[in-house]
């Protein structure tokens, strides 16, 4: 009985995690400019990772694999937002101004340093 419950919970978590990943991916593609796309990317980094890994941990029960899964989740949650922050910081410093309400970023051209 417990077994079945665990399975169902982890299936649900995995499904929602998968959906989150998909939403993040689509967001990354359709959003107008750089700073909005960074939100979409960070969504997948944190939420989807959390859901998928917890779902898998439930599946693998108490074992070395669970410890590894926990370590991977921890490092992903640690490094993902850092990288996104550093990226946004570098973009801001080098002059890519976030948009007010025009929606289309002034510096759209490719030769942005």
């Amino acid at each position: 009985m417990i077994e079945l419950a665990l399975d169902v919970v982890s299936w649900v978590l995995l499904a929602v995690g998968g959906a989150c990943v998909l939403i993040g991916g689509i967001g990354g593609l359709r959003l107008p400019n750089f700073y909005t796309r960074i939100h979409a990317a960070s969504l997948t980094d944190t939420m989807a990772t959390l859901l998928i890994f917890v779902g898998m941990m439930l599946q693998s029960g108490l074992s070395l694999a669970t410890l590894k899964l926990f370590a991977i989740m921890l490092f992903l949650l640690l490094t993902g937002p850092t990288a996104t922050y550093a990226l946004a910081n570098a973009a801001l410093l080098s002059g890519l101004k976030p948009e007010g309400d025009t929606g289309q970023s002034k510096h759209g051209e490719n030769t942005q340093p």
Partner: protein
């Protein structure tokens, strides 16, 4: 079921390869190259090559991207487009492609067990490894003992690359910039990456050591460990600045690591000779041949790890020092 993944990832691979060749901004090409190596590692993993995927990950994502970027920083990152017809190049290359695809129909289908590859030498390895070495990871057993001579050659290829880069970049650049080479401050004012990085570096080096000594039981070994530890120290150099990293791991230590690793590997072979076995025959190292094999594999994996880590780091420092000069 694996066909779906294989099909999917291989198509992505081809798209990325074509995109790399077509783009003219070299920086974009380097970014796509790191995606290319991510895809290669995923493909290897699906085709049951866990060790190779780990090597491609450790070497491709970390070290290759960093070396390419430091070379781009020293040269320009724009490519002058080449006008004119590309029919000749496309023609010769197209003929080669047709020839290869034509020849591929006689090759054994992906994964069929009757292929000659699986009949002759491979079953012997799979059967004899538990008997001679009693270690789970057959790839490490072949890499270090059955074909240990190849890996010795491999360590000396890395050694040659290291002394080659030191030799070629040993020449001072002609026009030394008037200003004293100001210390390359790492991502100084990026406080958050610095804090997280300082937290991360010990774990990367610890994971590198884990991969080093876990080589017999799971995917891992000398090459992967050396590359991961080198990536850890490179991360420290990126965050704290290259001068700081040199203080932590000075050049003399790096040279000692490379030379020590190569000599350690060779010394194990010579000791086997002196003890009456053939070159690199570890079973003579200890009374019980199986224990001798395990001891030999452990020591030469340590030698490989030292050599690869020292070589990759001295290559990185050679390029980074060049950047601060010009």
């Amino acid at each position: 079921m694996i066909y779906v993944f294989a099909l999917f990832l291989l198509t992505l691979l081809v798209i990325t390869a074509v995109a790399i060749v077509r783009t003219e901004n070299l920086f974009v090409a380097v970014m796509l190259t790191s995606i290319f190596s991510l895809l290669m590692a995923a493909n290897f993993f699906i085709l049951d090559a866990a060790d190779v995927a780990l090597t491609e990950a450790a070497v491709g994502a970390g070290v290759t991207t960093v070396i390419f970027l430091s070379a781009l920083a020293l040269t320009g990152d724009w490519e002058k487009p080449r006008p004119g017809g590309r029919t000749v190049a496309l023609g010769t290359v197209g003929v080669l492609a047709m020839l290869l695809i034509y020849a591929s129909f006689d090759k054994p289908r992906l994964g069929d067990p009757e292929a000659p590859v699986h009949q002759h030498v491979a079953p012997w390895y799979l059967e004899k490894t538990p008997e001679y070495m009693d270690i789970p990871n057959v790839v490490t057993a072949i890499l270090s003992s059955f074909r240990g001579y190849d890996t010795l050659g491999e360590v000396f290829v890395v050694f040659a690359a290291c002394i080659g880069v030191l030799f070629i970049l040993g020449v001072k650049p002609a026009r030394q910039t008037a200003a004293a080479p100001q210390p390359v401050s790492g991502l100084r004012h990026h406080l958050i990456p610095q804090v997280v990085g300082r937290l991360l570096v010990p774990f990367i080096v610890l994971f590198g050591l884990y991969v080093q000594f876990h080589g017999e039981y799971g995917p891992g070994g000398g090459f992967q460990a050396g590359a991961i530890i080198a990536t850890g120290v490179i991360l420290y150099a990126l965050l704290e600045g290259e001068a700081e990293a040199l203080r932590a791991v000075p050049r003399s230590v790096l040279l000692a690591l490379v030379v020590g690793g190569a000599l350690l590997y060779g010394a194990v072979g010579v000791v086997c000779m002196l003890k009456g076995g053939a070159f690199l025959d570890y079973s003579v190292l200890a009374a019980d041949p199986v224990f001798g094999q395990q001891l030999g594999i452990l020591v030469i994996e340590a030698g490989v790890g030292m050599a690869v880590c020292g070589a990759l780091l001295s290559i990185f420092h050679a390029f980074a020092a060049r950047e601060s000069m010009t």
